[in-house]
Symmetry: C2
Subunit: 124 residues, 2 copies
């Protein structure tokens, strides 16, 4: 997988078990054993899932005797939402501009057989 942090966050949440772990951690910290309990997989598998989540910065682990309570770091979500919102907004803005354009020329049928190729031409 790519090493950049955005890729790691998306990849971490691409697994349903890991998403479920995140969902449960949003209700409060928990130990590895507590987290592993609802799933059929081994404790080690959950431990590895947590390592992935930790690598993505989504969770941190305290050290409390032999227990390692897992804590959700919800701020990392911002990284994703920022990325998503940026391009969503850009796409929606484009639709808006297209609508405006269509309104300014209310005539039917395309004027030429070679429509807009060359998409690069918008530095935006």
């Amino acid at each position: 997988m790519a090493a950049d942090s955005l890729s790691r966050v998306f990849a971490a949440l691409a697994d349903p078990t890991r998403r479920d772990i995140v969902a449960r951690l949003s209700g409060g910290d928990a130990t590895v054993n507590e987290l592993a309990e609802p799933y059929q997989v081994t404790l080690q598998a959950v431990s590895q899932h947590l390592k992935v989540l930790e690598g993505a910065g989504l969770v941190t682990r305290r050290r409390d005797a032999q227990r390692r309570p897992v804590h959700l770091e919800a701020e990392v979500f911002d990284l994703m939402t920022k990325w998503i919102e940026r391009y969503r907004r850009q796409a929606e803005e484009r639709y808006r501009r297209l609508d405006d354009l269509l309104r300014t020329l209310p005539d039917d049928d395309e004027p030429s057989p070679s429509p807009t190729r060359r998409t690069k031409g918008e530095p935006a």
Copy 2:
């Protein structure tokens, strides 16, 4: 990978090339050739990336002669943002409640060596 749609969307965006493709499509539709041009990989590799994005519902393809213009479907982003926002809000709300609790008992040092275990007890 898991078959559910949320997993597919997250997995699709876990790749930097695919994120870049999405980013570029937010500026307007493009053909496979146009999309492949900036990257070092083969056209086939880009075609496969597009298949993944299509499988996640992030893009659709029209059929225009031998060309297949790719179109970004920004609505699918909602699936992610909804999921993210839900648990982010839940986590933040928990912090707020914790703060409130800490304010109600303004005495220093922890009252007992066994703090809140048993995270399950909150149906929220």
